[in-house]
Every structure is written in C-alpha cells, then in structure tokens.
Symmetry: C2
Subunit: 281 residues, 2 copies
C-alpha cells in the first residue's frame, strides 16, 4: 500500500500531497518529470534517470530546487516510508507558483510512488498493435508533461485495439506516446530513430546489449521501412521490450514476435538482473 | 485584493485552493481553460466565453462537472467575494485524479481571479515587436493548457525585445502564443488566419466590427504577405487590439501603428462599452 508522497522535500500522506492552483503545471501545462522502476527496494538504473531528469530541467529552463544527493535521499525516503519493494517512482518538476500565470517561478518538486502496471503475458507472447498518428512532439528531447495529443487519442486508440500510438511526421517515424520504437530488418539489422525523440533509458539499455549480437543503425526511420520490417518492438521502463506485430493494418513480418526481439528481451532481463546484483551504493 | 478562488464549486481562500498531485494537469499537462475580463463587476462577453469553454471541453473529451447555470453562479460568487470590479477571471478544467496517471477521470474545475495586466500606453501608441517561431499548436482549436513552446521561448523573446511569439508553419502564419494575428494589406483589406488556430473572442468581436468599414478575408495567411503588409495587429482579451510594427527584422508598413488599426481599436472599445451598457441578466 502506497501511503506517502513527497512535496518539496517533505514526506506527506498522499491525500495531502497537493499544489496550489497557481502552479504553472495546472495553469499552463509547464512541467517535466521522470519515471523509473523500484526493484528489490532499489531504483533501477538510478543514475541514468537522474541524469535525464537534470537534462530535461535544463531544456525547460527550470532549476531543480535540491542537490542531486538531497533528491536521491528524498526518493529513498519515499521508498522506505511506503515499504514497497517493487513499484514505479515518478519525479515531477513544475513551473512553480508563477506571479503572472505565465513566466516560470521557483519550481515545485513532487515525488509520487505507484504500483507497477501488470501487463498480461500475451502482450509479450503474441505482440501488440500500434496506431499511427501524424505528429511530432514539441521539445521532444525533454521529458515534459505535455501528453495532450496522446491522451486525446485514447478513445480512437482503444477503438482500434492498439496498445499505443506511433507518431510519424513528414514520413519519419519518431516514437510512441510513452515508448521508443525499433524495427529489425530482413538482414537482422536493428534500426531506431536517433533524433527528434525522447531518449528512453530502456532504449539506451537496449542499444547497449545489441553490439556483439546484431548490427544497429541509429538514424531516421521511414514509414516505407516499416512495411518491409521483419520485426518491430517498443521499449519503455514499464514495458521493457514489447513485440509489435501490427501497425494500423500493416502486419510486421509473420505477425508474430520475432527471434531477434525475443533474444533482446532475454538479454535485457539479464542486464536488469546484473544491475540488481551490484552492491548498493 | 483577491482573496478567494473556487475549486469544484466551493469558494476557498486562495492559499487553500489546491489540487492533489495525482491530477492529470500536473502529471500529464492535460487540461484546458478559458479567460475573460470582468468589467464593472460583470464578465465581458460572458456567453461567448462560456460557449468556447464548452467547445474546448468537447474537443478534449472532458465533461464539465456542472451545468452552465451552476458554473455561471460559481463565477459570480467569486467575483462578489473578491469585490473587485475590474479583473481577469480564469476557468480551468483538468483531466482529474487519474487512476493510472494517464487516462482522464472526473475533471476538476478551478476558478481563479487575477488583477488585470496593465500594459504601458506606448505599446498602443508606438506598436510592438513580435518574434517568429516555426511551430503549429497541437489541437489548436481547443484552449488547452499546453503552452510549453511559448513559455520555453520566454528568454529568447525577452532578449529580442519582443512582446509575443508569432507561430508559423510551412509558410503559413497562425497565431501568437496568446493572441490572434491580423494584417492590413495596401488596399485596406484585412486578413487573418481562418483554420488551425484558437478562435479568440476578441478576434471574433474584431471580425464583427469590420463589415461596413473594410473588406476582410479569413483564410490562410502566408509569411510572404507579412513582408508587404501595410499594418499588423494582434487581438486578445487582455491586450484588445495592439498594433504590431516589427516582426523579427521585418518592419511593417511605416513602422508606426496604422490608421486602419487605430480605427478598429476605437470601434472595438465602442463595442465593449455597448456590451457593458446592456442591462445585466
């Protein structure tokens, strides 16, 4: 049971974790976040996520109101208080209590713990469908809270039986609303977009396990290539590597999760276990 | 002195007007708003704004949790409680306390009153500068809280001495971050974008005062036309009609507010006074 969140460094019962309505996240959608898993009570790939959190803050001209050490300690305090060994943890940094309702002020920092989503195993054994939508995120390299297009498409996505929405623009495939996207070509080469995307940490870990096993190309990926791809998959912190077998009405390869994808799923799981086996420090 | 806001129909001291951090505005920037002026204690062009608020809610798949009459009464309650005859009033409707942090739930409704911004008169007598930026808003016809691009550009905008950022995309000029944009051509024809924009209420009122005085074209407006425009202006609830004399390094006409713009400024003021002279009810 999750009972506590943290607001500006103070542990509070989650019902009391609130921000005044003058916060710029509420008035202008101006804010950013990061999200990682807690496994065996430890944040997974902790430094990678803290690095990205700091990068996003710079891109949005927001100053994190705590040192990295203080932030790390606040996160561990929330994890200890809730006593939940396996969970999700989200850091949110907002534009703060703006004087004029537009210009950012001193940011508010919120830490929220949540249960892990439990994806049915069939999503991994059968693969999932994605829905295409023409859109390119604003300030894509920052993990901003701007999800307006993806959330607005939820009714269509559900109607289509899709797991997520895949964004493309000017023939280039970028990413989904909450995951990075990869294809595997006929010659086993793996391709994923290099620019104009949010660089996921699970994407990063996937790119680390590929060398020595497969060829990889990190570069613009086109809609045309999707039609001839033999395999496809998405990567995210909660989904890990999830096979994609259908994009709109385009069947990927045989319509089943491919061998390369399955191999990478196993290699990624080993990488996670390796991290968790390290001494904590 | 503004002392009270309203949250979900309850008048509360503004310091206590807060939303739990699980609200989708804070977690995912999912929400919308509207903003109008209060003059002589009365909301100006009240029904136009309430109409637009309802349109935005439909576009964002959010259900306003009160009837129009109840909403109207809550707004008047805030105005009476604060006793401020001239002010700004903002309605915010958020994605609510989402169970999974992504799908909208029952929306939260917030009413916030604020002092009117006081623009120096020189902005009207000398005109202002705009800064061009290539961007087209997502879901432009809904008044969403997504201002991430505009707010992120504040440092550059200030450095350029610009009053606002003018968005164009694929050679088409759309709108500024918080205003609509008009040009006046050499033959006195007035042009403003028709699609892909937020239809401002001050834009609407401006379009109502033009017929009988000038020709108007509501259609795509190109960057090329900006260079040969004789006058330009922006319209917004707080700025009314504000003359534009410089866009990046493009001087508009003589570099001074034009005659047509000044005429429209006067006609709009008359339209406001007409509205205020109507019996309330």
């Amino acid at each position: 049971m999750i009972k506590y969140y943290s607001v500006n460094g103070e542990l509070v019962p989650k019902e009391e974790a609130s921000l005044n309505v003058s916060d710029l996240a509420i008035l202008r959608g101006y804010g950013m976040f990061d999200f990682f898993l807690v496994k065996k009570g430890q944040p997974l790939f902790f430094d990678d996520y803290l690095d990205r959190f700091e990068r996003s803050a710079k891109l949005l001209n927001l100053e994190i109101p705590f040192s990295r050490e203080a932030l790390r300690e606040q996160i561990m305090q929330v994890i200890r208080a809730n006593g939940m060994q396996e969970a999700g943890l989200k850091l949110v940094l907002t534009g703060g209590y703006s004087g004029d309702g537009y210009a950012p002020a001193k940011p508010n920092l919120v830490i929220v713990q949540s249960p892990l989503p439990n994806y049915p195993s069939t999503k991994y054994t059968d693969g999932v469908k994605l829905m295409l939508h023409e859109y390119h995120r604003s300030l894509p390299t920052a993990k901003s809270i701007n999800y307006i297009v993806g959330i607005n498409l939820l009714p269509q996505m559900r109607a289509a039986g899709a797991e997520d929405v895949l964004f493309y623009f000017n023939e280039k495939i970028y990413e989904t609303t909450r995951a990075n996207f990869f294809i595997v070509k006929n010659d086993d080469t793996i391709v994923t977009a290099g620019e104009g995307i949010l660089a996921g940490i699970t994407r990063k870990k996937t790119l680390e396990i590929i060398p020595g096993n497969y060829r990889v190309e990190v570069r613009d990926l086109t809609l045309g290539e999707l039609k001839t791809a033999r395999e496809a998959f998405i990567t995210s912190s909660t989904k890990n590597i999830m096979p994609v077998v259908l994009v709109d009405d385009i069947t990927i390869g045989s319509g089943k999760p491919g061998k390369v994808t399955q191999h990478l799923m196993q290699l990624l799981e080993e990488k996670v276990q390796q991290y968790l086996a390290q001494p904590v420090g």
